[in-house]
Amino acid sequence: MYSPEFLKKQKERRLKWEKEAEKFRAKKSLPRFFTVSGVDIDELYTPESIAQSDSDESSFDRIGFPGEYPYTRGVHHTMYRTRLWTMRQFAGMGTPKQTNERFHYILKQGGTGLSTAFDLPTLMGYDSDHPRSLGEVGKCGVAVDTLADMELIFDGINLGDVSTSMTINSPASILLAMYLAVAEKQGVPFEKLRGTLQNDILKEYIAQKEFIFPPVPSLRLITDMMLYCSKHVPQYNTISISGYHIREAGATAVQELAFTLADGFQYVESAIEAGLDVDQFAPRLSHFFNAHSDFFEEIAKYRAARRIWAKRMKNKYGAKNPKSWLMRFHTQTAGCSLTAQQPENNIVRVALQALSGVLGGTQSLHTNSMDETLALPSEKAVLIALRTQQVIAYETGVVNTVDPLAGSYFVEALTDQMEAEAEKYFDEIERRGGVLQCIEEGYFQRELSRAAYAHQRELEKKERIIVGVNEFTMEDEGIDIPVLYIDKQVEKDQSAFVKKVKAERDAEKVKATLEQLRQVARGNGNTFEALLDCSRAYCSVGEMCDVLREEWGEYTETQEAMLPT
C-alpha cells in the first residue's frame, strides 16, 4: 500500500512527533486505555500500523471492494444506498392468538419481516401441560405445542408473502416442520418460503444452555434438515450461527468472533461429512452478532468476521459459488450492557451500539428496549428502540456512502489484530481436538466465565466505569417504568388447549408417525422428513422430543463445564 520511501519518512516524522507528545504524557484523563474486552489500545495509529498489508496486491486481498471477496468492506456493492438493513424487532408472548394479533399489527405498519420468540417449555421440548413447564408458559415468548398453535400464530398471514425468523434451537427442526405444514395447508409451495431458523445448537452448549440432546445426534438433526431444505425449501436460511449469546454469557469480542466462526466451520464440516456439496448449503448459512459498547472494537469485529469466513470457505472448504463466501449477519445490541440504574441511559447505549452495527455493515438489526433489565419490555420502550434505528437510517447520514471507516489506520489495524487473535483461538480449538471436544471438556464455558468474572471485578474495583452503576450514581432515582405482566390465565388456557387438541386428533396417525420417528432416529433415515409427518399428524413438541430423548438420551453439562472459572 505504501512505498518503502514513504514509510521511512513516516517513521522519521513519527519519532519527531513522539518527542513532542512525551511532554503531555505525564497527565492521564483515565487510568488505562483499553476496550470493553480488556485489549489495550495504542495512543496513535499511523500508516505504519497497517504496513502489514504492505504491497498493493495484499491491500486488495485484505480490504478490497464491497460486494467482492474477501468482503471486508461489506457483502453488497452499494450497501445501504440500495437497501437499508432490515429493522427486525424480536417479539412473541403469551398465547398463539396474542402473537397472531401482534403479527397482524406489525404487518399493518408496513413490516414484511416477522421474528418469533418461543417460551422456555417450547425451547426445551416440553408441552404446556408438563410439570416442568409450570410458571414458564408464555413468559419469554409464545407457547407452541402442536400444529394447531402454529396455524393460529399465522392465521390470516400468507406465508408466501412474509419472511419469518424463528428463534429456536434444540427443537428447531420440529418448529420448521410445523411451519411447512402450515404452508402446505395454505397451499403455499415450499420454494416460496423465506426466513431464518436460529437452529444453532453448538452455542447452546457453550453459552445459552438450552439444549436437550447430546451434540452428535443434535448435529444430525441439523444436517438432515439442511439436506431436506437444500432440495425443497431453497430460500429459507437454515441456520443462524450465533455469537450473540456467547458474548452475553461473558465472552470478549475476540472470543465471540472466534468461537462463533469455529461453530460455523463445524456445521460446514458436518454437512460435508453427511455428503452435501458445500455450495449446495453454504449460501443459506447466516450469522448473528452482538453489538456491545466498545464502538471501534465492534466495527473491527464485523469486518474481521467477513474476511475470515470468506477466506476459509474459499480456501479450506473449496466453495466455488461467491454466495458461499459472503457472510450475511443480523445484529442485536448488548442486553448485558444495559443497566437497571438510571434506565433511560440505556437508550443512549443502544443508539451507539446500533450505530456500530450499521458502520460494521449489518444486514438486519434488533435494538433492545431500555427497560429490559427490569422486566419484559413495555410498548413505549419498544417503540423508542425502533425509532432509534430510524434516526440512524434517516438522520445521521451514515448510509450515504459504503463502509465509511475503511482505510482508518485504527480500524484497519484493529481488524487485522482481531483476525490474528481469532486465528490463535482456531489453533487452540484444533489442538484440543475440535469444537465438540472443547464443549465436553468445558473449555469454552470456562473461558467465558473467566472473562465474565474478570469484567465484574474490574467494575467492583472501579477500573472500569459504568455510568449510573459504579460512578455518577443517584441515591433516590425514583424509577417509574411500567412493568409488563403476563397473565397467569395464559398458562391455564394453553394447557387446556393442548389437552383438547390431543383428545381430538387421529390417535392412530399419531402413534404411527411417532413410531416411524423412533425407527428413523435409531437408523440412518432423514429425521426431518419423519418430523414433518409427525407435525402433520398433530403430534406435540413434547411427544416428538420424548421419542428423541428416549432414543438419544438427554445432555447434561460435564463437571468441567460447570466450574465457575
Binding site: L120, E136, K139, E210, G250, T339, P564, T565
Partner: protein, 136 residues
C-alpha cells in the same frame, strides 16, 4: 477456635439456562472463602432442597431470569417447610420487578439481588445473615 466456613448451595431452577450471573457469584463466594456447591441447570425445587439438606448448607442461592420467579421461589420455600429446613437461608437474583421482589421477601425469601448489585453486597449479606441465625 477457627471460624466455620459458610456453606452455600447455588442452583438454577426452572428451564432457564442463562448462567453467567450464578457463575460470577460462585467465583466471588469462593474467593471470599465460602464453600460453594453449584448444582447446575434445571434443578427442580425438590432437587435443590434435597441437595441443600444433604450438604448441610447455611444458605441456598438461586438465579432466575425467565420470569418464572413467582412460581419457583414459593415452591422452594414450600419444600423447605416440608423438610423442616426453614433454618436454611434462601436468597436469589435475576430480572425481578420491584413489586415481585417485595412480595417474595414478604413470603420468606431473605433477599433478592437485582442487576448491578456488587458481589461484595451479596458476600456481606450472607456473612451477616448466617451470623444472625447462629445467634438465634
Amino acid at each position: 477456635m477457627t471460624e466455620q466456613k459458610i456453606r452455600v448451595l447455588l442452583a438454577k431452577p426452572g428451564l432457564d439456562g442463562h448462567d453467567r450471573g450464578i457463575k460470577v457469584i460462585a467465583a466471588a463466594f469462593r474467593d471470599a472463602g465460602f464453600e460453594v456447591i453449584y448444582t447446575g441447570l434445571r434443578q427442580t425445587p425438590q432437587m435443590i432442597v434435597d441437595a441443600a439438606v444433604q450438604e448441610d448448607v447455611d444458605a441456598i442461592g438461586v438465579s432466575i431470569l425467565s420470569g418464572a420467579h413467582m412460581t419457583l421461589f414459593p415452591a422452594i420455600l414450600d419444600e423447605l417447610k416440608e423438610r423442616k429446613a426453614e433454618d436454611i437461608i434462601l436468597f436469589g437474583g435475576g430480572i425481578i420487578p420491584d413489586d415481585d421482589k417485595a412480595e417474595l421477601e414478604k413470603l420468606g425469601v431473605s433477599k433478592i439481588f437485582t442487576p448491578g448489585a456488587p458481589t461484595e453486597e451479596a458476600i456481606q449479606f450472607l456473612k451477616c445473615e448466617v451470623e444472625a441465625r447462629k445467634e438465634q
